[in-house]
């Protein structure tokens, strides 16, 4: 066996990564790069007290009424997938962002950017899907816009929906309200939507199809708010915060809450529901379900005395049947810094659940 004469003392290192002067895909992933883009480009110029809270929705007061206001854009490919399409996704996504503020969603707008050559039949299908989703969610699409761009400039269809809802008196939900001792509740299995999409793209087949969990959550939220009033008659303060873990997955959501509330969060691996087939797909592709997008799930931070009651209410709702307490909010003493999310493995050891830099890249190693 040949021996090398390399001198370890002379080993060197590669060059540091220079800051990017262009947008990369990771900037849209919901992870650290997205957060940096907000922080470095938008917040300095747009800053105001409402925006700076960085909740899923903005809650503003107009004439004594608290109005929730949110916008979301949809660039999903493929446009049609098991469990939905870009249209139903666009309705559910914005309805959910409103619902996470405790609002009852009432009105939506719909903006379409179409590429020249896009099949009208597909557009009809998408519009029909939106109409069904909006009707089921009890919202009206009251205004919209359509633009067409030249062939090659638009990748089929891009959409935007903006929504308005009314926040009832006394409901105050925000990502900065979590406190040590609070419980972390997850409404159901993670990874379904992201894997349903990826499976289509990667040409994976399934014995039983993996279906996106895209759904409107405001009914579930109403049930939870009602249950929390039972616990504490004063306000619905028992629920501190609601978030839907979309792009960036459960990890991004928990990291955001921990950072904004200046707390730590500990979760238990064994408590997190993941469907077998989603697990199989993640193993095969080298992905971690914690970072995969969901479109019909929510995370709730609730006061410990209210956890059982709210969990029971969730389980009575079809969209919360698999709801589970997955962890606890902790303080920031010692090796638990503010904004740290850790997970206890089935072995009892602890690991950090980090905020991803950009898109999760499939592992080969």
């Amino acid at each position: 066996m040949s021996q090398s004469t390399v001198d370890p003392a002379s080993f060197t290192c590669p060059a540091p990564l220079k800051p990017t002067e262009r947008i990369v895909l990771g900037h849209g992933s919901g992870g650290r790069l997205s957060a940096e883009l907000l922080r470095d480009v938008f917040l300095p110029l747009f800053s105001n007290p409402v925006l700076d809270r960085l909740d899923d929705q903005a809650i503003v007061e107009i004439g004594g009424v608290r109005v929730a206001f949110t916008t979301d854009s949809f660039v999903v490919k493929p446009l049609f997938f098991p469990g939905g399409d870009i249209g139903s996704l666009a309705v559910h996504g914005t309805v959910n962002d409103l619902a996470m503020g405790g609002a009852k969603p009432v009105f939506l707008s719909a903006g379409f950017i179409l590429e020249e050559g896009f099949p009208t039949a597909d557009l009809r299908r998408i519009a029909a899907s939106m109409a069904r989703a909006a009707s089921a969610a009890g919202v009206a699409i009251v205004t919209g816009d359509t633009k067409v761009v030249e062939k090659g400039k638009g990748d089929g269809l891009f959409m935007n929906t903006t929504g308005i809802g009314i926040v009832p008196e006394g409901v105050r939900l925000s990502a900065n309200r979590a406190r040590p001792g609070d419980r972390v509740i997850l409404s159901g299995s993670i990874g379904d939507h992201g894997i349903a999409i990826l499976a289509q793209r990667e040409g994976l087949e399934f014995e039983t199809e993996i279906v996106s969990d895209s759904a409107a959550l405001h009914g579930l939220v109403q049930a939870m708010l009602a249950a929390s009033l039972d616990v504490s008659a004063e306000t619905s303060g028992a629920i501190r915060c609601l978030r839907d873990p979309t792009r960036g997955g459960l990890s991004s959501t928990l990291n955001e809450i921990a950072a904004q509330s200046l707390v730590s969060i500990q979760i238990e691996e064994a408590a997190i529901p993941v469907h077998d087939q989603v697990r199989g797909a993640c193993e095969l592709l080298g992905l971690d379900p914690l970072y995969v997008a969901n479109e019909g799930k929510l995370v709730a931070i609730v006061a410990p005395e209210a956890a059982d009651c709210i969990l029971a209410a969730m389980r009575r709702d079809p969209l919360g049947a698999d709801a589970a307490v997955i962890g606890t909010v902790g303080g920031t003493i010692g090796n638990r810094r503010a904004g740290t999310v850790t997970m206890k493995s089935v072995f009892g050891s602890t690991r950090i659940v980090d905020l991803l830099a950009g898109d999760q890249l499939p592992r080969i190693c």
Binding site: Q3, P8, R32
Partner: protein
């Protein structure tokens, strides 16, 4: 999931950990070479389960991290060409070259795509004869058969627009380097389970006897690694220095003959530069002369492209197991997965990145609360 879940069973894992604790009588330093094994150790926090006498240090088993700087620069140069579709495994896209990376090439309009298998790249070439398709062939011996087969099939199909940028590295020369170093602390190795699935165990016999060091070839699940550690500790306590196989459901002494045959037919052993370490003789693979038309370095005339590696970090010491990532003053501050200074922070398999992602809380002062 069969053959996965059973090897993550907590009772069994903790039981083996207890066996290790009762077996060990003095400190031992063990190294796992393979990045996939590093990943498992970090992800499950397995250091917490082991007695303090057993110290795990992490070797250069991340082929992404050790891909030389000039190879990344060559990939970037090729990917930037307008008629090229550049394909790669996901891990390589974020690796920084001298002043860019493949993700940025994509952002500037380059056709850079992540593929799951080298055959996906071959099929792309077949489907798009107007594009030149290049594949970034990085990896240890585990991935070499697939890459060899891709080139072989491309030739069979008579493809004129497919090429591979080959940067394969071999495990035994890296282990030899570490063991030859005067400051080496490693007393036992967890051998690379999937590399050995392909290559068998013969090369490791030579290492074990030359350096009198025990090598236990291990799998990738927590129970596999704990069992391998137990077997290593048993050997060390008894003064043995043999090659043993923990991963018997996958590894045999002779390895996989058809896989080895295709590797020999398409590749030959060559000297290879390892990023952060330097050139190691006969430590890599390159395409044989008769497959020259599939060699992306020649097709795109980038062989001459070389790069300067500036100095700063202690990655070499980490790769050798002489330092832990947390020993580095830049760890988590100037050097993070977002802004890596060194090779082990680049890929999710690298020791520093794995530490940063899963275990950096152990670097902070612990206060009971």
């Amino acid at each position: 999931m069969k053959y996965v879940d059973e090897y993550r069973d907590p009772q069994i894992a903790l039981g083996i950990a207890q066996c290790i604790a009762s077996r060990v009588t003095r400190p031992w330093v063990l190294m796992e070479v393979c990045g996939g094994q590093t990943h498992t150790l970090m992800r499950y926090g397995m250091e917490e389960l082991l007695p303090k006498e057993v110290e795990l240090v992490h070797g250069p088993g991340c082929p992404v991290c050790v891909t030389p700087l000039e190879m990344v620069d060559r990939a970037i140069r090729i990917a930037s060409l307008p008629d090229v579709t550049f394909t790669s495994y996901g891990d390589m896209l974020r690796v920084p070259g001298s002043d860019s990376d493949l993700l940025q090439v994509k952002a500037r309009g380059g056709d850079v795509r992540v593929v799951y298998s080298p055959m996906d790249a071959v099929n792309l070439a077949r489907a798009h004869p107007d594009r030149r398709v290049a594949f970034f062939g990085v990896g240890f011996e585990t991935t070499a058969p697939a890459n060899a087969m891709a080139v072989w099939q491309a030739r069979r199909m008579g493809l004129k627009n497919f090429s591979m940028l080959v940067s394969h590295v071999l495990v035994p020369p890296a282990m030899s380097l570490i063991l030859s170093s005067p400051s080496n602390r490693v007393q036992g190795f967890i051998g690379p389970g999937h590399v050995c699935t392909v290559m068998g165990l013969e090369e490791y016999d030579d290492l074990a006897s030359e350096f009198h060091v025990p090598i236990v070839v291990g799998g990738f699940e927590p129970v596999d690694l704990l069992e391998a550690i137990l077997m290593l500790v048993a050997q060390l306590e008894e003064g043995r220095a043999e090659v043993e196989n923990q991963y018997t459901r996958s590894v045999s002494y002779e390895g996989n003959p058809p896989a080895q045959r295709i590797m020999r037919e398409v590749f030959e052993v060559s000297d290879r530069k390892w990023r952060g370490i330097g050139s190691i003789a006969e430590s890599g693979l390159r395409l044989r002369e008769e497959f020259a038309q599939f060699d992306a370095e020649r097709v795109f005339d980038v062989e001459g492209l070389s790069a300067e590696e500036p100095k700063e970090c202690i990655s070499a010491l980490v790769l050798q197991g002489l330092k832990k990532p947390v020993d580095c003053s830049a760890f988590g501050t100037r050097c993070t997965p977002m802004h890596p200074l060194g090779a082990p922070m680049v890929s999710t398999e690298g020791a520093c990145a794995a530490y940063h992602q899963y275990r950096r809380h152990t670097a902070y002062v612990t206060v009971d609360c």
